[in-house]
């Protein structure tokens, strides 16, 4: 793929990007199924939350929106279950990857602020296939989705069968999960779609590829392997006199 960038001198004003595969077709499908069900779920859910949306819950309109909420919820919940049946080992790999945090993640978080806010290419500790921010997002979404599912089940089928206290707690946990996952959604949407540095993210979620230079810079442990990435990181730190 050739990207034309104004002012590049070599190669007649175009640069050459080597794309390498990162996401499988099923991973991308899962991402878009989740996105296209989560957003309508958030809209129908926030109707009882946001004062300016509350009139949408009145009477039969509210009943219809609740029905939509439940239909989308079933699709959202089925997606990871089907994925687990089709690619169980890959799902386990994802879970293991995303729930692993090390001391290097603190270094990443420190470097992330000048990088994303000021566009400064500060040294970041080498990262695996998912960087700290992506893993935090994944953890919030996985825990949030499980919480949504359990509490939503209680609120759907449990009324009258479970104790009122359990129902009340389910409502609150559902609410908290909505707040936390939606905050994550705002950050995720901003970084993936709006942020100028992250122009590749939509490409990679559509075609499943990222550029080699981005992989080398941001996912060194995945690109080089863990040991080689650490070696390079140590060399780099020594060179720069850290």
């Amino acid at each position: 793929m050739r990207v034309k960038i104004k002012g590049s001198k070599e190669d007649g004003g175009s640069i050459h990007i080597r794309w390498i595969p990162k996401y499988t077709f099923l991973e991308r499908l899962g991402h878009w199924v989740h996105a296209s069900t989560y957003i309508p779920l958030a809209i129908t859910g926030f109707m009882i939350f946001a004062p300016w949306l509350k009139h949408m819950t009145h009477g039969s309109a509210g009943q219809s929106f609740r029905l939509l909420h439940r239909v989308f919820a079933i699709v959202l919940a089925l997606m990871p279950i089907i994925y687990a049946l089709v690619e169980p080992r890959r799902l386990l790999m994802h879970l293991k990857e995303n729930f692993t945090f090390t001391r290097e993640d603190i270094g990443w978080l420190k470097a992330a602020v000048p990088y994303y806010v000021l566009g400064q290419h500060v040294d970041m500790p080498p990262q695996p296939r998912f960087n700290t921010g992506e893993r935090l997002n994944a953890v919030a979404i996985i825990i949030g989705t499980v919480a949504f599912g359990l509490t939503g089940f209680v609120m759907w089928f449990g009324r009258g069968y479970v104790s009122p206290m359990l129902f009340q707690l389910a409502v609150i946990v559902h609410d908290l999960a909505a707040i936390i996952t939606f905050a994550m959604f705002i950050v995720h949407f901003f970084l993936a779609v709006v942020h100028p540095l992250m122009w590749q993210s939509l490409v990679s979620m559509r075609y499943g590829v990222i550029s080699e230079s981005y992989a080398r810079e941001h996912h060194a442990m995945w690109y080089y392997g863990e040991d080689r990435a650490r070696e390079l990181w140590e060399e780099h730190k020594a060179e720069n006199g850290h």
């Binding site: 960038i5 104004k6 002012g7 590049s8 640069i15 990007i17 109707m47 009882i48 939350f49 946001a50 509350k54 819950t57 009145h58 009477g59 039969s60 309109a61 509210g62 009943q63 609740r66 029905l67 439940r70 994303y116 806010v117 000021l118 566009g119 400064q120 759907w156 089928f157 009324r159 009258g160 009122p164 206290m165 129902f167 009340q168 707690l169 409502v171 609150i172 609410d175 908290l176 909505a178 707040i179 939606f182 905050a183 705002i186 950050v187 901003f190 709006v194 942020h195 100028p196 540095l197 122009w199 550029s211 230079s213 981005y214």
Partner: protein, 272 residues
């Protein structure tokens, strides 16, 4: 509360004729016994129906009570919405179907209700009853006593008060009903031999819309001894939602701010 009205319920005069149940159903067009649709069955007690339900907004609860001083007796309790001054149902209702109406009545608008059922789960007395038409789609409607708001806002008494042949019920300003209940409880204690008689509803949840003169402790009637506004409702409505709203606004504004700053600093010609 100055403008609050209340129903006075004298449990010592109630003879459990259940005329109030009939008058309530008649005035509010609620179903009684309908063969094949709404049937009742004998469960070994005179109590009927066995609990409040979507078509039964008030009911006489029968309790067999073995009084240590007086021996066995029936306790008759007229159940129904308590019309709390601090009503959790109003706070958790997302549709505003439940509202504070005139005279401190908790009014209910059927057309606004979407059947979420939060009122039935957050009520400290578990009064609102859900008519569930379809559990799967969530089609349902809540229902409860509204103190015959169409009558009471036009200067009449609720249908049950009007019909009570024993004179056990009365309707008026809450303060007057409290005085009446206190006078009656004094008489029950001193003259009529009910040493444990008590007033219920004077202070509970800011003062209830039902003021009971009881002949035995409230727990013996199955009333909660010290009902509280549910802490979960406060946590949900007063903490989680406002804090969540502020947090989401802050995150959105923060992202926008970062966008403005990063746009100035990122040199797109260097980005691959």
């Amino acid at each position: 509360m100055a403008d609050k009205y209340a129903m006075y319920i004298d449990a010592s005069k109630c003879m459990a004729c259940r005329g109030c149940q009939v008058a309530c159903k008649q005035w509010n067009d609620n179903l009684g016994y309908v063969p094949g649709v709404r049937e009742t069955r004998n469960v070994g007690t005179y109590e009927n129906p066995p609990s409040l339900d979507p078509q039964t907004w008030t009911r006489i609860k029968f309790t067999e009570y073995d009084d240590p001083d007086r021996g066995f007796q029936w306790l008759f309790l007229k159940e129904g919405c308590m019309h709390c001054t601090e009503a959790a149902c109003v706070d958790v209702c997302p549709t505003t179907a439940l509202k504070y109406g005139p005279h401190g009545i908790i009014t209910f608008e059927l057309e606004l209700c979407n059947g979420c059922g939060y009122c039935s789960q957050f009520c400290p007395f578990q009064v609102p009853q859900m008519e569930v038409f379809n559990r799967l789609t969530g089609e349902a409607k809540s229902s409860k006593c509204v103190f015959c708001q169409d009558r009471t806002t036009n200067g009449l008494t609720p249908a049950c008060v009007k019909t009570c042949p024993a004179g056990a019920l009365d309707w008026g300003e809450q303060d007057a009903m409290i005085s009446k209940a206190e006078a009656r409880v004094n008489k029950l204690k001193t003259d009529l031999g009910f040493p444990k008689a008590m007033v219920y509803g004077k202070t509970e949840l800011g003062g209830l819309g039902r003021i009971y003169a009881l002949t035995a402790p409230a727990e013996e009637y199955g009333l909660p001894k010290d009902p509280k506004y549910p802490a979960t409702s406060t946590l949900w409505q007063k903490v989680c939602q406002p804090v969540g709203g502020i947090a989401l606004t802050a995150v959105t504004l923060g992202a926008f701010f970062v966008y403005l700053v990063s746009r100035r600093h990122v040199d797109m010609e260097e980005v691959e």
